[in-house]
């Protein structure tokens, strides 16, 4: 390749080959480096799961699930914690899903292009980045103090619902955006108005995507600890909230909404903060259950999204 007249050191055949070799070599080196970083990251996830199984799996049994917290680590359990988590999640889902879907539909299908829409959109983006503990301070200052609602299941549910609202709005918008424009035009062409189009065609088509967002949001809410600590939820709860179902008319009872409570991440934080090793085992057992729940939910959401993408193709 080298021309006799151009035999500067940069262009002679020898260093050109060396240059090429070095470039290919660094290419291969980077591929190995990328793979190493990847393996290291996944190893951390693996180590975390293995650590929880190792420390906590043997502690999980029927008694652990049906006992109240106790001063003796051996007889303590998470009954009040998992019941509390379940009830808080019911409130969170009941608020966040309709609100998030409605807001998503508005922003994607209805909103005119103007400064109000821009403002709402920037606002949602910003809310998604607000640290969760700030939502806790909002709940403490507004719900617990100003509105005097107390440290109840209802307040915790509302707080977590506001926290996961951006996740649901974004998921709704993305799944609406993926619906072909033809569907809207066909519906309008048949004389449907906007609401009929949304409720009859768009929402059913967007359902799997919205479901994915809802699951990811709920799994985030289940694991959240900081905002619930901030509202001052008690950590030693040795009783259950009143039952939502009763034998006499009207058969449902909403007193549980105003009951004090604890949830699984709080119980875990409480136990991990104590010096005794026995409580650390309890924390690991609680963490393992939490981890299993959130990983399963996320795994299901990922699988759902994967299937959805394959169907669209």
């Amino acid at each position: 390749m080298s021309t006799p007249g151009l035999s500067s050191s940069r262009f002679d055949g020898y260093s050109e080959a060396r240059l090429l070799k070095r470039a290919k070599w660094s290419d291969g080196l980077f591929a190995v480096l990328g793979l190493l970083v990847l393996v290291a990251t996944l190893l951390v996830l693996g180590a975390l799961v293995a650590d929880f199984i190792n420390d906590g799996a043997s502690r999980i049994d029927g008694d652990f699930l049906t006992s109240y917290p106790s001063r003796r680590p051996g007889s303590a359990g998470i009954l009040s914690a998992w019941v509390g988590t379940t009830l808080v999640m019911i409130v969170t889902a009941a608020l966040a899903v309709p609100l998030g879907v409605a807001a998503g539909v508005y922003l994607e299908e209805y909103a005119p292009k103007n400064w109000v829409t821009d403002f709402i959109e920037i606002n949602v983006t910003n809310l998604a980045g607000v640290p969760s503990i700030i939502y806790g301070l909002l709940a403490l200052g507004l719900f617990v103090q100003t509105l005097a609602m107390g440290q109840t299941i209802l307040v915790a549910g509302i707080t977590l619902a506001l926290l996961i609202l951006p996740i649901l709005i974004v998921a709704t918008r993305e799944s609406l955006r993926a619906i072909p424009q033809d569907i809207r035009e066909a519906s309008f062409g048949l004389g449907a108005d906007q609401w009929q189009t949304v409720s009859g065609y768009l929402l059913p088509a967007a359902r799997p995507g919205i479901l994915t967002g809802a699951i990811v949001g709920m799994s985030r809410a289940i694991g959240e600890t900081a905002p619930i600590i901030t509202i001052g939820a008690l950590t030693f709860i040795a009783f259950l909230p009143p039952s939502p179902i009763q034998s006499s008319f009207p058969f449902v009872n909403f007193d549980w909404l105003n009951s004090p409570f604890t949830v699984m991440p709080i119980q875990m934080f409480n136990w991990v903060s104590r010096p005794q090793a026995g409580f650390h085992i309890n924390a690991a057992a609680t963490g393992l259950i939490l981890l299993a729940m959130t990983l399963l939910m996320n795994g299901f959401a990922i699988w759902l999204r994967y299937r959805l993408r394959r169907n669209l193709r």
Binding site: Y106, L127, L137, A283
Partner: protein, 317 residues
């Protein structure tokens, strides 16, 4: 649309309701109008949430700053709100937050950039499809579980190699936060890299660039604002991360100079104080809102800058 057995050719169409009646149309129109307003109100809730956050943080902080001067808040080097001799120097908590954030970024920025380049330029699509869900799973782990992992698994291991490492320290929580924000940084910066048009890559390959050269000299510069946005968003998360530091970094409020020792951060201080039962008119109670306002402003600045940068790169291609 009734199917009436007594239909004849002379039955007027409106009588069999093939054509919607005025009443039906009016009802439908009313529903459409109502739903438009209802949906708008739902979207407006998000604005109310922001307004609520700002209102609570500012109104409580105003009460705080009526008793403590802003100058003392920013320059005092001690933080002792519940002691007899009260000091309110936010720099102590801020130094803990910044130290853990810097350690997290020292892990997440190089690892995140390498992984993003690897996924967007090197990995085959099939490999990418398999790997990304696993990264998402890391993002789904509850933060309190990461706290347990930092305190009871990683710290004892690190103590074998680093002699001076305290049980509660900033180093290990910082590293764990780095791993936590890694999937997020990878996902945002990989998005930005994939938004770089393929024609630029093909041009580079045609000039004889290798994959790595294309990645470093074409794709990374092309996606620079998006990658910066990813770092800023990761930083904002690291600053706001609460449970890892609350569990594993200790509660001592002091100017954090040594990562091998523990120190309180803004977030872990708020948790620590919320656990106790303080009277709600005390100055110590008000400190968590002043600390919260500081945290909010910090993350807000990062988020806004990142939003602006991302919007810019989206417009570029």
């Amino acid at each position: 649309m009734a199917t009436d057995s007594t239909l004849t050719m002379s039955t007027p169409l409106t009588a069999v309701r093939l054509v919607p009646t005025d009443a039906f149309l009016r009802r439908r129109h009313l529903l459409d109008r109502t739903m438009r307003v209802v949906l708008f109100l739902a979207a407006a809730v998000s604005v109310l949430v922001t307004a609520g956050i700002i209102y609570v943080l500012v109104s409580e902080s105003v009460k705080f700053f009526a008793q403590v001067s802003i100058w003392d808040f920013l320059t005092d080097t001690q933080w002792t709100p519940v002691f007899q001799d009260k000091h309110f120097g936010i720099m102590t908590l801020l130094s803990g937050t910044l130290m853990s954030t810097l350690i997290a970024l020292a892990i997440a920025v190089p690892a995140g950039t390498i992984l993003a380049i690897y996924l967007s330029e090197f990995a085959r699509p099939r490999v990418r499809e398999v790997i990304k869900p696993f990264l998402e799973l890391i993002a789904g782990v509850p933060t309190v579980a990461f706290g347990y992992f930092a305190l009871l698994f990683l710290t004892p291991i690190f103590q074998k190699f680093i002699p001076g490492l305290a049980t509660f320290n900033l180093l290990v929580p910082g590293i764990v936060i780095g791993i936590m924000i890694l999937p997020y940084i990878v996902s945002v910066s990989e998005d930005a890299m994939r938004a770089v048009p393929d024609s630029l890559r093909e041009g580079a390959f045609a000039l004889g660039f290798t994959r790595l050269q294309t990645g470093l000299r074409v794709v990374v510069p092309g996606a620079f604002s998006g990658i910066t946005a990813a770092f800023l968003l990761g930083m904002s998360r690291a600053v706001g991360e609460t449970m890892v530091v609350a569990v594993a970094a200790g509660q001592q409020a002091k100017i954090a100079g040594n990562p091998l020792e523990g120190a309180a951060t803004i977030t872990s201080y708020i948790v620590q104080l919320s656990m106790g039962d303080l009277p709600h008119d005390s100055i110590a109670y008000l400190t968590i809102f002043a600390a919260g306002l500081t945290l909010f402003l910090l993350t807000f600045a990062f988020n806004l800058l990142a939003f602006w940068l991302r919007r810019r790169y989206r417009e570029a291609y």
